[in-house]
Symmetry: C2
Subunit: 556 residues, 2 copies
């Protein structure tokens, strides 16, 4: 059965009943149809003094084309925890609309580890991303309007730093010239569009602790510079007010359900490269107040996703994680051991053992944040017993951690019960001592060096004078206390996506440094960063339609 | 009290209870929070065999800066009908998001004749316009993607006819160059953005009778031409399927309530110039099946709005209107009689009588469609008794119709009870003999000439050879049976906005003819048509914010 067939044959509970499982009263849920809801601000405020439940991060080895299954493991673990009697909720990112029509398909889990209604989640959902697109583009319109009507703030037309966004894969909009057509249309200048998830508004949305904090952060966005390079902010344009008006409802966390009718918060979805790649602070904090166990994930592998989850999201929002799960698959480890994608179905224990070096470094990294952890082996049908045993033996003997075989994709929560039990043991062991990797008051250059040495295993960072100067400038401008948001390939610890396993003896070249003043981090870019995807020659869109019974077909 | 203060102090019924007033079962309403809903396709199909209730169009004299109050009269009449014991529902257009941040403010009525929740209706509402924006821009992305990947259909880059849309007032996007930045970003070409309400997808959305009809129409959109001028359609790009996927939920009619808790359908909102300016056929047909009286409005004055409502919407969708209300104000009639805006508060019966010529022509026009009608005088505080009596006397003696004074703005439905009684009398009189103005099989040139002579009072249409050739081409290409969608100034019967009253002895110059193959009409453009507004020097946005209690402030 396809994912969508499984999703359709499942029994759905009304969202108010799902919410009641974590004691959210019916009137605190604003419904969007029977199966989607938002949890009201009033209710969230009313529980804000409660102690937090336990928070578990699901992260993974460096992703490969073989697939790891981080989202399905998050869903499976959530269902598994509920099955063994824990009141658990999961927190995921909202999928981006554009890529659904390209290659990627949706992002609501798969098999028997899904969140539903998957069509809604993958399409407009509760409109959050549309609200973010609108807020972002209102600011853009206000900038060009300001310039058109006299440019009192003195924008240098060559230094407008705020692009526009659209939630669509549209490569033709990456670089555009705007303001053509004569005086009535404003001033001609270069511009461009990013996909909505790459918007700084998205990052701000996901880090804001409430509406007030959202508005405060929006005001700090640097939208451009004067001719003498003085920053101009969104606040100076009086944009934070109307942007917050557009985002007011969106900032309430969305609640849906897993196939096993357990609560799932799906809220926010920033890029995992130029942003921090985690669902909203609003959702994670809500879940932590309401559930005994909150299971959440972070984008890409642990080198990027987990590091940013800990050093940016948890540190800034005061979230205290208690344990981590590192997802791996035999197939992906074989790729890290040098096996080509076409040969993955053949048993190859030696290559797998060699690829375990990738797993090892991620496990050691997570330990550096003070967290107990377990490896989840997301089982595929082609995996052999010898391969699975080899991973378990490696984890136990070389890393001192357990590796649990999970079959949630085929079996739902039952396939993750052993993992759930292991997670509960870790958490109840009380050994967690979460700490960020670097202190906030370290210099920006030093923080970046700490990340690449401690997490990536690199020798050092390298950068030309212009980039090094920018680090200094940002410190002089008062941004030295911001955490670092690394942007590099997800496929390797290094900046070369082809260097699998656990590369050593390399440097990390820094190409560019960008300020996200509202998100309150400094983006350090180490490679090409694509902020507007394109569609493939045969887009997934071509096959999609609504059938005679009103069902969406070929959305995957 | 401001509109928003009145709206906030009102008692709101849960939307399921509102829907029950016209016998919609609770389970047929998909909730979006407590006060907004969509009526399910299944339920609409289940009532499709019922006979239609009565349909009343609210239209007006040519709009002036003095304001007419067509929307408030629609709301007031709906409430008035309910007060006198009729089961009535109103149908309005959804407001566009962009202009809310400019000058205009929202469009949910005013005073004690409003639809609520006004903040939601004026902002994201149920996401319909975002869905339309997404569907429109998916098609745009698929076009440039097709060209990028080989251009099998042979688009002439200079003749791509599909622009992009955004629901924001952003003049800098009117004319842009896209595809810059190198090979990976596609081919450089000219492009541009319209505001979402100007999208042909919006017009199609509003004319589609069901999802299947929507998909069929989307497939017919002409998106560009080959070098030898052969049309290329959205269907050839396999775009209608995924576009319908994006629009599936949006096409269900939205239901909200008036301040007096009566049902209001608010669905779709096409431009009243390059499109037909009426709410969706889905909503009007739903209301007609469910209510005894459906009160709806059309954009601009009766010369544009009512003509298109009758000749495009009613004719194509098989809606049979039974009566019309022509809204006028003493102030607006004085402006048509030559009074300057600053002098409107002074009594001036002579100017008013002279301005009644404008009213007269609209009344005569509506009669040409075979409908009984009443004039609604939307009373303003500065109106004098002499002025109001003059309008009533003119209507009675010169036009043979009643003119009823309405005070719904200040008094709600009670202020429109007399109007409601009059409408019921007209309808129950059974004198309606609705007929379109011109037969479908008349030539496109002839149809246009019929409209300008019969409705505008012009001598003839004039156009240069290029435009006349285009009329012929469209007939040769098989579009001769389409109705005409006139695009001209709303402020005058003529194409000169300064010609108030009832001008005579003028021609209507045609500047351009555009095909809307999916909407199934031919747009005849007689003047400048603005499809992307800009923001003013001090946008309304600047004053908006969310207050400490989560309320949106300064949205009007």
């Amino acid at each position: 059965m396809s994912d969508i067939d499984i999703a359709r044959s499942a029994h759905y509970e009304h969202i108010k009943n799902v919410a009641e499982k974590i004691d959210i009263p019916q009137k605190a849920v604003m419904e969007y149809g029977d199966y989607k809801g938002k949890v009201s601000y009033d209710y969230l405020r009313s529980v804000s003094d409660r102690p937090d439940g336990k928070v578990v991060l699901v992260t993974s080895i460096n992703p490969t084309p073989a697939g790891e299954g981080k989202t399905t493991t998050t869903v499976g673990l959530g269902d598994g925890l509920n099955r063994i009697g824990k009141k658990a909720a999961i927190c995921l990112r909202e999928p981006s609309l554009g890529p659904v029509f390209g290659v990627k398909g949706g992002a609501a889990g798969g098999g028997h580890a899904q969140v539903v209604p998957m069509e809604d989640i993958n399409l407009h959902f509760t409109g959050d991303f549309h609200a973010i697109t609108s807020a972002h583009n209102l600011l853009a319109a206000m900038i060009d309007n300001h310039i058109h009507h006299g440019n009192e703030l003195g924008f240098d037309l060559r230094r407008v730093a705020w692009r526009r966004v659209i939630d669509m894969n549209d490569r033709a909009l990456r670089d555009v010239t705007i303001g053509l057509g004569g005086v009535a249309n404003g001033f001609v200048r270069e511009g461009g569009f990013d996909i909505t998830v790459a918007s700084e508004v998205m990052a701000i949305f996901c880090l804001a602790t409430d509406l007030e904090d959202l508005t405060r952060r929006l005001g700090k966005i640097v939208v451009g510079y004067t001719r003498d390079k003085q920053a101009i902010t969104a606040g100076e344009l009086e944009a934070p007010g109307p942007m917050s008006v557009l985002l007011r409802d969106a900032l309430m966390p969305n609640i849906v359900q897993t196939l096993e009718n357990n609560p799932a918060f799906i809220h926010g979805g920033p890029f995992a490269n130029i942003a921090h790649g985690c669902n909203s602070v609003m959702a994670t904090k809500a879940a932590a107040k309401l559930a005994d166990y909150t299971v959440t994930e972070a984008g890409f592998g642990a080198d990027l996703g987990a590091e940013k989850f800990f050093d940016i999201k948890c540190r800034k929002a005061g979230i205290r994680p208690n344990a981590a799960v590192v997802v791996a698959t035999a197939r992906a480890l074989k790729m890290h051991g040098g096996v080509a994608k076409d040969d993955l179905s053949k048993e190859n224990v030696e290559a797998l053992k060699s690829g375990c070096a990738n797993l090892a470094r991620h496990v050691q990294n997570v330990k550096k944040f003070g967290l107990p952890l377990v490896v989840a082996i997301n089982r595929f049908p082609t995996d052999t017993d010898a391969e699975l045993q080899a991973i378990q033996a490696y984890a136990k003997n070389e890393l001192g951690v357990d590796a649990v075989i999970c079959t949630h994709f085929g079996d739902g929560g039952a396939g993750a019960e052993e993992l759930a039990n292991k997670v509960v043991n870790l958490v109840e062991g009380g050994t967690d001592q979460f700490a960020a990797l670097y202190p906030a008051d370290q210099g920006l250059w030093e923080k970046t060096r700490t990340i690449v040495r401690e997490i990536y295993g690199a020798n050092d960072i390298i950068a030309d004078k212009k980039v090094r100067d920018r680090f200094k400038e940002l410190e002089e401008e008062g941004y030295g206390h911001f955490p670092i948001c690394m942007a590099k390939t997800a496929n390797s610890f290094s900046t070369d996506p082809n260097l699998k396993g656990a590369p050593t003896n390399f440097d990390v070249p820094i190409r560019e440094v960008r300020l996200s003043a509202g998100a309150e981090f400094v983006v350090v870019i180490c490679g090409a960063v694509m902020t507007m995807p394109g569609l493939p020659s045969k887009p997934a869109a071509n096959e999609m339609y609504v059938d005679d019974e009103g069902r969406i077909q070929n959305l995957s």
